[in-house]
Structure formats: C-alpha cells, structure tokens
C-alpha cells in the first residue's frame, strides 16, 4: 500500500508542483475551448444580426398599384428598384448573381386587372420570384418575401375579393394554444445535455490522461528514471497501480474543470449558435443520477488510464507511445460522435460493447432512459476491462524485455 501511495503522490506532485504543468494540463485546454467557442458563437451571432439588419434590395417588374399600396402600409421595408425594360431585367439578374441585389419579384402585366376580373376557370395569375441561394442576404430575402410578405399580400387581396375572410378560413391551427408542448422538462433538458456531455466527457477524460500517461510510463522508461523505481523494494504492481490511479485523478480533475467551465460558459457560448438552447437548459440531477454518473465516471477514468498505461508500457519513448495512443483517441472520438447522433432506444446488446456502452450509459442516465441491468453491465464491464488491462500492464512491468533498456 505504501508503494502505491508514494508513487501516486509523486505523480501528482509532478503536475501540481509545476506551475507550467498546471497551466498546460488544466487551464490551457479550457481556455482554448472557451475562446474558440466564444469566437465561433460571436461570429455566428454577428452574421445573423447582420442578415437581420440588412435591408433587402428588391427588383420589381410590372408592379401593380395594389402592391404599391400594400407596401406603403407594410412594416417591413425593402429597398425597391423597378424594372422598366429588358435591359433593366438583365441588370437585375446580374445583380442577383453577383450578390448586389437580393430578389426579383415579377408580376404579370396588368396583375390588378387579372385579379379583379377573375372568373372561375380563368388561369390564376402567377407572381414569380428569383433569388440566389448561395447568397445569405438573397436567401433571407426569398424566405421573408416569397414566404411571408407575398402571403400577407394575398390575404389582403383575398379580403378585398371576399369581404369577410373568416368565411373561407374554415379552421386555424394552434393560433391560441400556449400549452401545446407536453413534455417532461427535466428529461428534455437531460436529453439536450445528454447529447453533448457524454461526448465531451469521454473525450476529455481520454485527452486529459493521454499526454501525462505517455510521459508517466514511456517517458520514464526513456529517461531512465523508471529503473530507479524498479530497484526499489516495492512490488511492480504497486508502481503500476500508483501510476494508473494518479492518471485517473489527473484526467478526472481536468475533465471536471472542463465540465464546470462548460456549464458556466454554456449560455455565453451557445447564445447565438442556437438561440435559447443554452440558457434554457434546466439540468437538475437527482441524487441517484449523480451517484450513477459519479461511479461511471470513475470506472471510465480507470479504463482509459489503463488503456493509456498499456500502450505506453510497450513503447520505448513518449513519441512512440503517442503514435500508439492517437488511433485509440480517434476511436474514442468517433464512438462519442456516434452516440451523439444516435436516436431511438439503445439495444441491450449495445451495452456490452466496451467504450461505446459508457457513452450510451451516460446518455441514458441523463435522459433517465437506462435500466438497472444496462447500467450494471456497463459499470462492471468497464471495471473488469480496466482490471484485466492493469494485470497485463503489471505483467509487462515484470517482463525485462519490456522494461529493461
């Protein structure tokens, strides 16, 4: 026990007695994430604001008097240009193509007369709009004008024709039904967080252990400092466990820092990316959820630490260890992504797939969808796998081919 404790303490001291290490392990990654997310969020919000504030430049061909009248009363204002000739039309199309104008509205000639004189069986007059989907301004103008403004204009003409619109509306859908959403808010926000959190936590736990883990084992072998531990009177297994536990503690702590910063900064970062989603997250965990998450986190940290220890022990240098670890990191990334975009109930069998089941269980706990059986299988399998890998690492430590230079 003394051996495990001493090795554990030394490995933590290696990080915590060195300001540069504290900065690079705990603060720098968080700082980078917050800065990147904020920049991305701000840029996205600036872009949206810009599009919203932009006054659409609209070309109108054959504008009828009724539309001019409608425009005068409407609240949305556009910068209007009129097409008088074939040349004007060509210029308008060119402007749309080059992003200098946003939309062309083409009315048929004598549109007002056609509408007024309409009789059953006549061809229904058609308004055509032209836009450029590659241009953000044009896209937004198309959505607003073709979708909303022209619909309002139609309603106005319809009211003029029919006198009373209520006769033809027949029914409305949810025009005054504030309670139309029936859902468990906790579950819903759990689902939203459940989508992101497992992804981040599994990655963070791995990433947190990666650099330090390879240095802790392969690095020590490379520098010749491992041998000094090997001639001390403690068991090889104590060295391994001391290192694995300290790796767990460091990666756990670094991901905890991440998660706290993420929860605190989430509203700030998410504000503009998906309006409302960040600040509306109402994540309230029950005691049992916290206990389940905690136990699972410890198990995952254990498994990841042993995976990294295993890959490092067979490497002769930190560099070599990192080349072994990188593909596994990619795998963890991909599995995280799969869980993030998986919908529907998870199959029981999926809970037997290592690493993948961790992300599933995480999601399940947060959205309260996991069964006791699924949870227990995940937890036991993760711990057992970690245990087996630890045993292999201990065996490797006892093998002179692996350990002796």
């Amino acid at each position: 026990m003394n051996g495990i404790k001493q090795i554990f303490k030394k490995e933590l001291d290696r990080v915590f007695k060195d300001k540069k290490m504290i900065f690079s392990v705990f603060l720098l990654p968080v700082l980078i994430m917050v800065v990147i997310m904020s920049i991305v969020g701000n840029l996205a919000s600036n872009m949206e604001d810009d599009i919203e504030n932009h006054t659409s430049i609209v070309y109108i061909q054959n504008e009828p008097e009724s539309f001019a009248e409608f425009q005068r009363q409407a609240t949305a204002k556009y910068s209007l240009k009129f097409i008088e000739s074939a040349e004007d039309r060509k210029k308008a199309e060119n402007d749309i193509l080059n992003g200098k104008a946003d939309l062309i509205i083409e009315f048929p000639e004598s549109f007002d007369a056609q509408v007024a004189d309409y009789e059953e069986g006549d061809t229904i007059p058609q308004i055509k709009t032209y836009y450029n989907p590659s241009e953000d301004y044009s896209n937004s103008a198309f959505r607003n004008i073709s979708g909303t403004t022209l619909e309002e204009y139609r309603q106005m003409l319809l009211a003029q024709r029919m006198g009373n619109l209520e006769q033809i509306v027949v029914f409305e859908v949810n025009s005054d039904n504030d309670n139309m959403i029936i859902q468990d808010d906790k579950k819903a926000s759990g689902k939203a967080v459940g989508m992101m959190l497992p992804y981040f936590i599994t990655i963070l736990l791995f990433a947190g252990a990666m650099g330090i883990g390879s240095d802790m084992i392969a690095g020590e072998k490379e520098r010749g400092t491992m041998a000094s531990l090997l001639v001390s009177p403690i068991k090889r297994s104590s060295i391994v466990l001391g290192k694995v536990f300290s790796l767990m503690a460091i990666s756990g702590l670094s991901s905890l820092v991440y998660v706290i910063v993420m929860v605190v900064c989430m509203p700030l970062m998410m504000k503009s990316m998906a309006p409302g989603s960040g600040s509306d997250l109402n994540l309230q965990l029950s005691v049992s959820q916290i206990v389940m998450l905690g136990a699972l986190l410890v198990a995952i940290a254990f498994l990841y630490s042993t995976i990294i220890a295993l890959l490092s022990v067979f490497a002769k240098s930190t560099k070599e260890a990192n080349t072994y670890i990188m593909p596994v990191y990619m795998l963890v990334l991909i599995i995280g992504l799969i869980t993030m975009f998986t919908t529907g109930e998870a199959n029981n069998i999926n809970f037997f797939i290592p690493i993948y089941n961790n992300a599933l269980a995480f999601q399940g706990i947060l959205s309260q969808d996991i069964t006791v059986m699924q949870y227990v299988v995940t937890l036991i399998e993760t711990l057992a796998l970690g245990g087996i890998l630890t045993a292999i690492v201990v065996k490797a430590f006892e093998t002179e081919k692996v350990m002796a230079k």
């Binding site: 003394n2 051996g3 001493q6 030394k10 001291d13 290696r14 007695k17 060195d18 020590e220 520098r223 010749g224 400092t225 041998a227 000094s228 531990l229 090997l230 001639v231 001390s232 009177p233 403690i234 068991k235 002179e400 350990m403 002796a404 230079k405």
Partner: protein, 257 residues
C-alpha cells in the same frame, strides 16, 4: 553476503541488434556460468573490458533482469523468488538509472527513503549525513535537470544510499567524475566497508580497482577468468601491476578461445 551460483544470462537478439553486432547468431551470451561470493565488510571489484558482462551481472543481482540459468542469493534471499526482499537490502547505482529531472535532490531523497519505509527522523539524519559528506546541501533544492554531471552523480549516490543498505552495488561509480569527486566517492565506499557493509563495484579503471578493492574478479566475455586479492592476482600472473596482470589473463583467455 552475495552468492552467485553458475549464473548465465542469454539475450535474444532481434534483427536490428544482430546487424549492429554484425552476427548471425540470434542469441548473445552476456554472462556465462559465473560464480562468485562476496562477503560482508569487503569491497569486491568486477573488472573487465566494455561488454564483458559486468553490468549484466550487477543488474541480475539487483533484480532488474532475470538470470537465464543459475541462482543469486542476496543476504540469503534468492533474486527470482524474493525480489522485494533483495531490493530492500541493496543500494544500486548504475549510469542508466537516473533521477527524475523535474524534481529537486531533496524531494528525490525523501521519495526513495519513503519507498524504503525509512522512518522520518532516521531519514532526516541520513540526509544530513550524506548531503554534508557529498556537499549536496548547496544544490539540494535545485531541479536535477539544472545540475552538472558531477552534481547529478553525487545526488544519485546519496539517493541510492538513503535507506542505509547492507549491500551497495555500484556500476562504474566514478565514471564521468572529476578526480576530486571521484576520490570522495571511493573514500565513502571505504567508509561503508569499515562500517561492515558489502560493496560490489564494477570498473574498467585499473588504478581504481587496485586501490579500492579487497578482492577482484576479472571478467572477459561473460566468464570469470580470475579472482583474488591484488597480491594473489599479481602472484598468479607474475606481473608488476594490475594492468599487466589483466593483459596477461586477457591474452591467455583470447588464445584459449
């Protein structure tokens, strides 16, 4: 006491190592049927050229590598059966064992002392004694990476002796040291001997072996070709000094081979 009985150590070579050694033999016998006994209160020197098997022998004693054949008893404990007990009673120093460069000497001393379960007050007394003797105090709180080669070697010696081991195994302890530091190391080893400890050193420096060792075992190609006090070796070979005696024995061995 250290008792080595018919120790052989055979390494398997990979293709790269075979190419480096310019051999087609996939195995290399580093130590070949070596037996020796070293007793309490003596300094036993393993003398031999580079690659003779000195370090391999010492590494087998220190349980870093396992013998292919034979047995080694350290204070009655067999190295393969009770490696922890063996490691408790030895202090081992070799050039490829290094101290963690990130920590200072003081931290490393305390750390290894605690690994050996040395009580705090005893450890502090040991530190005072060793740090004073080797003049470590002035750089005790410097990170090891900031130290010169000599300072590092002094620190490594002090750390390896933190637990006051009964048996001290030093592999070329004065390698890379200036003459003054080297002298302080050999003087300290004599002091340890006077305290009744067993010291095994390996060296290829003849003058050092002459002055320091009570008994000398000469190793060539993994085999012990001669053993005895300086006087016995000189008498056996009819040489005037150890260097001449060594070459005499070395030549005989090569002619036999």
């Amino acid at each position: 006491m250290i008792e080595i009985k018919n120790l052989s150590k055979i390494f398997k070579l990979n293709k790269k190592q075979m190419a480096e050694l310019k051999t087609k033999d996939p195995v290399k016998t580093a130590v070949d049927d070596l037996s020796l006994t070293a007793k309490k209160g003596e300094i036993y020197g393993l003398l031999g050229p580079n690659g003779a098997g000195k370090t391999t022998t010492l590494r087998c004693i220190a349980t870093i590598i396992k013998p292919t054949k034979g047995e080694i008893y350290v204070n009655g404990h067999e190295v393969q059966k009770e490696p922890e007990a063996v490691r408790t009673s030895i202090g081992f120093l070799t050039s490829d064992i290094k101290l963690d460069e990130q920590f200072d000497v003081d931290y490393m001393f305390q750390f290894f002392g605690r690994l050996h379960n040395v009580p705090k007050d005893v450890l502090n007394r040991r530190k005072e004694e060793l740090f004073t003797y080797f003049g470590i105090k002035e750089f005790a709180h410097k990170q090891i990476k900031e130290l010169s080669t000599g300072m590092k070697q002094k620190a490594a010696i002090a750390v390896s002796l933190a637990h006051n081991p009964d048996i001290v195994i030093f592999d070329e302890p004065t390698n890379g040291l200036d003459i003054i530091t080297a002298r302080s190391v050999t003087d300290y080893l004599k002091k340890l001997k006077d305290e009744g400890k067993l010291i095994i050193v390996s060296t290829h420096i003849m003058s050092e072996a002459e002055k320091l060792c009570d008994r000398i075992g000469i190793i060539v190609d993994g085999r012990k070709i001669a053993e005895g006090t300086l006087g016995e070796l000189l008498h056996e070979t009819g040489a005037e000094d150890l260097e001449d005696a060594f070459f005499e024995l070395y030549r005989n061995r090569k002619e036999e081979a």
